[in-house]
């Protein structure tokens, strides 16, 4: 009897690692651009304008209240309808960037909020301009509360990049599914994939724990 399934080979490991590299690419682009965009939104929310704060908050809240998977499918079908189809990498990454930004905005907003108003006023009284005060007072002080939460968001983005597989992009998880179907050796493959994800995200999660401990002592 000929077997339709072929066993796992060393070349398959390279296939998985290629998938892992794409996972890293999606994650890095999403975290970088999502953080930049999120900083702008967070800053907008921290201006003393209730209307802007409310508007930005309400819009970003939508992205946090609808499953990422649904957002991915919606955006992917929307660009196809609108007549400018994007490669799966970009339609997936764009959704992930906006999703990450909606999370980062909250972190940045509460980071800025954590800086005592008196401290900021004092800086201005010493003759600093608004941007000087932002740069030399609010940013370093606010970063202390914001950084651990930001690490959490970055970790979430790495893990959420797995959902881009649902719109057909072959990243790590999708690569593992393809191998699963061909070799039917799901346990080995899943252990390997789990390990790769773990290796990517564990250092960040340790960094967060270390930071938390240092702040306590």
């Amino acid at each position: 009897m000929t077997d339709v399934f072929t066993t796992l080979q060393w070349s398959d490991l390279i296939f998985l690692l290629e998938g892992a590299w794409k996972t890293v690419q999606i994650s890095v682009v999403s975290i970088l651009l999502g953080t930049l965009l999120g900083m702008v939104f967070g800053w907008l929310m921290s201006l003393n304008n209730k209307l802007i704060t409310f508007a930005v908050m309400a819009v970003l809240d939508v992205f946090r209240s609808v499953p990422l998977l649904i957002q991915l499918i919606l955006f992917d079908s929307f660009v196809a309808i609108a007549g400018f189809p994007l490669p799966a990498f970009w339609s997936g990454t764009i959704v992930l960037i906006i999703y990450t930004a909606s999370l980062v905005a909250v972190v940045v907003h509460s980071g800025i909020d954590s800086v005592p108003a008196g401290l900021r006023a004092a800086a201005r009284c010493l003759g600093m301009s608004y941007w000087q005060e932002m740069r030399h007072v609010t940013t370093p002080v606010g970063l202390r509360t914001a950084f651990p939460s930001w690490l959490g968001v970055a970790l979430a983005t790495i893990k959420d990049s797995a959902l881009v597989s649902a719109i057909g992009y072959v990243e790590l998880l999708r690569a593992s599914q393809i191998l699963n179907t061909r070799t039917q050796e799901s346990v080995k493959i899943m252990l390997l994939v789990g390990l790769i994800y773990f290796i990517i995200s564990y250092p960040l999660s340790r960094l967060g724990a270390r930071y938390e401990q240092r702040q306590k002592s």
């Binding site: 939508v62 209240s65 609808v66 499953p67 990422l68 998977l69 649904i70 957002q71 499918i73 919606l74 079908s77 929307f78 309808i81 609108a82 007549g83 970790l155 893990k159 959420d160 990049s161 797995a162 959902l163 597989s165 649902a166 998880l173 599914q177 699963n180 050796e185 799901s186 346990v187 899943m190 994939v193 789990g194 994800y197 773990f198 995200s201 564990y202 999660s205």
Partner: protein
Amino acid sequence: MDYQFHWRPVIQALPDLLKASLVTLQVSLIAMALGLMIGLVLYFFRASQLRVLRGFGSTWVEIARNTPSLFQIFVFYWGLGEFGIFLSSYTAVVAALTFNCAGYMAETYRGGFNAVNAGQDKAARTLGMTRFQSMRYVVLPQVLRAIYGPMTNQFTWVILASSLGMLAGLRELSGETQYFNSRTFRTFEFFAATAVIYYLIAKMALLLMALLGRPLFKAERAKS
């Protein structure tokens, strides 16, 4: 853009979509409830003197927190087959979400217990309370208050994450939407409607948690 939007199939399918939302709610509630209980056990494991228990608790928490939830669902749905364990979509999704919630809640409990001053437990014991009484009347109520916010977030997260059930063949809200999509090819319309339904469910869950939490924070409201 020469695409014609057709909303009629969506409106016709609406009763079925709403029925499937009940599956979404059911899956989320079960996973959350089990996750809350197992998470507490994991917390005690990690705080225990026994190395085996500590190791078990930490391994669970680290795996749950450092691998994608979709991966976890796939492991429960496809990965256990080689051991002769075949779970239905429903069981696999509930098990995976429970696994994930328990890991995250264990960390949340840790934060909650740390927030309660250790002196309070000692004081309660000095006043003649048993270990259990001190836990029940002094420590736990405060822990519950401390974790209520993160717990609410976790609940919303589970509701949204249950949409991954679609990729393991579960006919919850997303899976049902995908089913209608495959019959009508009205992808955008169907998933737009589903997005609205998820938004409403998420908001309702927040409202429900706020109402349920009212008695917890009664003392604090009286103070201010």
